[in-house]
């Protein structure tokens, strides 16, 4: 990202950064009570901060926030598998490259892969999925950028 003269207070990057820093501060505060903030806690804080910065405007953020509120229970399906998922599961267990299966639009097999990667993607229509994916990618890159900057800053700041 190019350098900005002054931070845009309402930009996604700024909103995410504030939330994430606050979350890290909280993690740090409680580190003596439990173990050191584990990698997992940092990652969840980052994902949650981004979803919260976007708010519920997007299906993928709603899915992320839902999952976090449920408290990271085991990611297994809580409902019986629908036919298509069952077919995919069987196909996966038989190994090899998944051939293109006909979705509701006679569409690509890659969408199944994409559905697994985008939060909430499993139950989306193909057009929603594509739009959500675009937004998700934008937010993920912002998240990565900020985290990278933070690592650089922490690495270079002398400890007190």
């Amino acid at each position: 990202m190019t350098a900005q003269q002054s931070p845009n207070p309402s930009s996604l990057r700024t909103r995410f950064t504030y939330r994430f820093l606050r979350a890290l501060k909280e993690l740090n505060k409680h580190r003596s009570a439990t173990s050191w903030p584990s990698y997992r806690r940092v990652k969840v804080a980052a994902d949650a901060s981004m979803a919260a910065a976007v708010k519920s405007r997007r299906a993928w953020t709603r899915a992320v926030l839902r999952k976090i509120r449920r408290g990271h229970r085991s990611p297994r399906w809580n409902r019986p598998l629908a036919t298509r998922e069952l077919r995919r599961k069987i196909r996966r267990n038989h190994g090899g490259n998944p051939r293109k299966i006909r979705g509701s639009h006679g569409d690509f097999g890659q969408t199944n892969e994409l559905r697994k990667l985008v939060p909430g993607g499993e139950s989306m229509e193909i057009s929603s999925l594509l739009g959500e994916t675009a937004h998700y990618i934008k937010c993920l890159s912002t998240q990565v950028q900020v985290m990278r900057d933070l690592v650089d800053l922490y690495s270079s700041t002398p400890t007190s």
Binding site: M1, T17, L21, L27, Y39, F108, I126, L153, S160
Partner: protein, 92 residues
Amino acid sequence: MSSRRSRSSRQPGPSRITDDQINDLVSKLQQLLPEIHDRRSKKVSSARVLQETCNYIRNLHKEVDDLSERLSGLLETTDASQAAIIRNLLMQ
């Protein structure tokens, strides 16, 4: 995005998404991908775009994991002033 999308995403039952709409969305995705976008090839297939998208997302996920790991390590050892960090971070 276009209102077409929001209308169709609320439809229950069989959707009426046209192939054109799909292609439009796929090409929008294509513009977000670093590799393909650079090559500016108009002949990239939708399947290729989706494949690259999946790869890109997986890479981003992996970066988040790596960075989270580094951050959690750094948090243990750093007591840096928050204000300075915030100011620096936001000025990037």
